[in-house]
Amino acid sequence: MPYDIKIDNFEGPLDLLLHLIRKNEMDICDIPIAEITGQYLATIDAMQSLNLDIAGEFLLMAATLVHIKSRLLLPQSEDDLIEAEEEDPRAELVRRLLEYQKYKEAASKLDSRPLLCRDVFARKFPSPELAALEEDEFQSVGLYDLVEALRGLIRNVPEACYHDVTFEQMSVTDRINQILSQLAGKENLPFGDLFTPSPSRHEIVVSFLAMLELVKLRMVRLLQNARLGTIWLFPAVAEEHMAGLDFDEDVLGYD
């Protein structure tokens, strides 16, 4: 039997069932299960043929419907007959449908209220102190912002197209000690200041590793005050404590 199916946006299987029952003007207390199951499955088929993602819940409901249908078809056993009032297999479904309808209605009632910032508006008090505070509020720097900062630096360095033999360049350990001395006596340091105006690839990588190492050692904290804003290095331990530390290459495991 061909069904005329219109695919609406259904919130879920209960929503779809309510729609089908209503469309066919069925009595909710006496749902013709065979008919509704057929229509429900046909709708799901149609959704599938439209390549709509069928959520597992729709399939679960299909199984429930088929299960109810089979229970209605089976003759009642004698045990069931002894239990005088055996519950209609459809009862739970009906309860859920009515309950769902209740909250669907409540949702639409809530939506029809005058909503703040949609239908009614209140004053927003732009307090100057508060605005300044927000700007200065630091948040921790995410991994992707860090990667973006590194890429920004590397992008500016031309790819070297010759083989360059150089003496041993600066090591990560040296760089860590340099950064620490750069930070000494300062409250913070912008990420960009770690690098010379036109750093070599080697310097960028070594400096970046040194910075990450410091973060790992919990000696430096990376903060920023806006997404994609400047990244700031903050010393995370007291200065006297820092000065006493001497980084040894063996400790860090870099060469």
Partner: protein, 184 residues
Amino acid sequence: MDTIDLKPIIEALIFVSESPVKAEQIAEALDVEKPVVVPLLRQLCSDYASDSRGIVLEETAGGFQFRTRPEYAEWVRRLSRNKPFRFSRAALETLAIIAYRQPIIRAEIEYLRGVDSGGVLKTLLDKHLVRILGKKDVPGRPMIYGTSRDFLELFGLKDLSGLPTLKEFNELALEAPPAGDESP
């Protein structure tokens, strides 16, 4: 203080407040008892309601706040160049269920809606409309959810008892306009 007319002072205090002000806060600022303030607040509310004003004084989320009248929303939006926001049906259904059934756990919400509600619940938490009340003492220790103060403020509710009464159904209602599609 008896000789001073407190009403205009109260009006000023409400005007400068960013969020709904409680009667207690006003009483404290004016150094009077709360019962002195409450009737004056009620008077102010009816003053604004009776005059032909663009704003009304509303009791919301346990406090008082000046708000524009809903019929002028279009003009306010034109000035602020804001588009009206719209709730998704999933968000509204979930909010309604939490509002009426709190304290509630996610499994109960999902049973009532018949669909996974993890994503929409997270959005509501992020928007501070829903908050975590605690953990239920059952296996898995699921989170218990309830609505927040922001929820009351957004929907202009005095408190949870101000929610419209739930209609019990014994049969199918006639096709109701789907939530979320209503024009503001």
